[in-house]
């Protein structure tokens, strides 16, 4: 699996297919993350009914869908954070469906949760340094502060004293140090001012260029279109469609119907 990491933009498909380098959706690389038939429950209530999607190394894909469709639950299920899940979650060639969250994290998957989960009893610095290194090759603190200069000035503040936008940056920043190559970002732009949304958009583009692979849950459809290679549509706990970003304009009517906008 290793040769396929950090290869986007540099490697040519083995098949020599004429379109593969320009069309990420026909990626010849083995997927870095492959979710199949994923079902999950909160206690008695059955929320996911067979989620299936693939993410190639270095790709940014989004999960789009209405409120309550199961996007957050999908990310939590991948991370192993639900009491009960079945199906298959393969990452980097390893089956993780039976693994506990800490083993999934150690394999190199990291979650930035919807509620951000900044710890109020930890300083900004402690929040940033909390996740242990799981693999070599994470970003250095200098690289992180280059992306998020605000954080550097607030290191000794209490984590939850930051503004909403700064907390979001902190929640992203802390998983970049760890060496995890697969980032699961749950609505990173939710409730933020346009200028901050732009900054997060630039960050995601930069992370992609650094070789990170990203699954992005988004409500902000324009934002999603500006950063992603492909879009998966989630509805009632299932993936019902996939639209390549390049084919977005052609499918805009369909998409609006899915999202009810």
């Amino acid at each position: 699996m290793k040769p396929f990491r950090r290869t986007r933009g540099s490697s040519k498909p083995i098949s020599g297919s004429d379109m593969a380098s320009a069309q990420p959706q026909i990626s010849p690389a083995a997927p870095l993350l492959s979710v199949a038939d994923l079902a999950a429950w909160y206690g008695e209530s059955h929320v996911l009914h067979g989620i299936a999607f693939d993410v190639a190394p270095g790709e940014v894909v989004t999960l789009l869908g209405r409120n309550g469709a199961g996007k957050t639950t999908t990310l939590k299920a991948i991370m192993g954070m639900l009491p009960r899940r079945t199906g298959s979650v393969k990452f980097d060639g390893c089956e993780l469906i039976k693994a506990p969250p800490r083993a999934i994290a150690r394999a190199g998957v990291a979650l930035c949760p919807e509620e951000r989960a900044i710890f109020s009893s930890l300083s900004v610095e402690e929040n940033l340094m909390l996740p242990p290194r799981v693999k070599p090759g994470g970003l250095s603190l200098e690289q992180i502060f280059e992306m998020f200069p605000n954080l550097k000035e607030r290191l000794s503040s209490q984590g939850t004293k930051l503004s909403g936008g700064e907390q979001q940056m902190l929640a992203i920043a802390r998983i970049l140090r760890t060496g995890a190559k697969m980032l699961l970002l749950d609505e990173p732009t939710e409730g933020l001012a346009p200028v901050i949304v732009q900054q997060i958009g630039r960050t995601i583009a930069h992370l992609k260029s650094e070789g990170f692979t990203i699954v992005l849950v988004e409500q902000n459809f324009h934002f999603a279109a500006s950063v992603a290679d492909r879009h998966y549509i989630v509805e009632q706990g299932r993936v019902i469609d996939m639209i390549p970003n390049a084919a977005l304009d052609a499918n805009i009517g369909k998409l609006h119907a899915y999202l009810g906008v």
Binding site: M79, G80, M81, P100, P101, R102, I104, A105, R106, A110, L111, P113, A117, F119, S120, S121, L122, E126, M129, L130, P131, P132, V134, T178
Partner: protein, 295 residues
């Protein structure tokens, strides 16, 4: 001899010292309770019994194996802490999915069993444990006579309390612990082994209780009920301080010990109840406790 507010200074300082000694035990024990409650969400009713075990294990090490006080200070917290770890792994960890009440009932039952076993074996009359030779005698401070062992207890307890505070508030391990207290699921999703952190935390809290037991052995007689008597007051201290804060547990422990000592000087009739009166007032004014965070 001079007087303060009509009270002989020696009596005043004597009671202040006694208050500080009691406060040392309140602080050590409520600290362990607060650490355990923070992460496990369990009120460890076995804490008094574990303190008593600390004193007994020190006595056993000395009587059966000739292992002295100084070694006991190190070995006993490890031995009793390991006992706590087994309890957590085998029993308490099965209850995390259930209501908090089950943890309380389990640890309360354990306390009764442990005390019963020791009572059966050693009776209730109490066993002597002598002050180590290095700490016998006393020092004249000019304004009062300080028995060396009592000074040592206050000093050791301060060092352990602030060491614990430093560990929890200033180190990386402490950051894991604080984060897991807030949001264990997220800490696990970062790759940290939260169940092991929980087990070690319980062992640490139990070890603190056992250490307090070793410190207490030469002062109070080693007796199966010593924990049961003390722990009631310690629970009141915890209610007053609030469960949320490490520094709160330390300050409240020492503070209430001193208040209790002063009450014994100025109004001895109230000294047995003053802590409970303060508890009632705090519960009316600030139910989360002086240092507690609303949850």
């Amino acid at each position: 001899m001079f007087e303060i507010f009509g009270i002989p200074a020696a009596a005043l300082f004597g009671q202040l010292l006694l208050g500080l000694i009691n406060g040392s035990f309140y602080a050590l024990l409520s600290l362990g309770l607060a650490v355990i409650f923070g992460l496990l969400n369990i009120i460890n009713f076995a804490h008094g019994a574990q303190y008593m075990m600390g004193a007994f294990v020190a006595w056993m090490l000395l009587s059966y194996l000739g292992i002295n006080y100084w070694w006991a200070l190190i070995l006993v917290p490890l031995i009793v802490g390991a006992f706590g770890i087994v309890i957590e792994r085998r029993m308490i960890s099965r209850l995390y999915q259930l209501d908090h009440l089950y943890g309380l009932l389990l640890t309360f039952g354990l306390a009764l069993i442990i005390q019963g076993l020791f009572r059966n074996q050693y009776g209730v009359s109490g066993l002597p444990y002598s002050i180590p030779p290095q700490l016998q005698g006393g020092t004249n401070l000019g304004f009062m006579f300080l028995p060396n062992y009592r000074g040592w207890v206050v000093f050791a307890s301060l060092v352990v309390c602030f060491g614990t505070w430093f560990l929890i508030e200033k180190t990386r391990l402490g950051a894991y612990l604080r984060a897991a207290t807030e949001n264990p699921a997220m800490v696990g999703a970062f790759g940290i082994n939260v169940p092991r952190l929980i087990t070690l935390t319980y062992g640490f809290g139990v070890g603190l209780a056992a250490l307090a037991g070793v410190l207490a052995a030469p002062i109070y007689s080693v007796n199966p009920n010593m924990g049961a008597d003390l722990i009631i007051v310690v629970f009141a201290v915890v209610v007053i301080g609030g469960m949320g804060s490490i520094m709160g547990a330390i300050l409240t422990g020492f503070g209430l010990g001193i208040i209790e000592g002063l009450t014994r000087v100025f109004y001895p009739e109230a000294s047995a109840v003053v802590i409970f009166v303060i508890m009632a007032i705090v519960l009316m004014v600030k139910p989360t406790g002086l240092f507690g965070r609303a949850t």
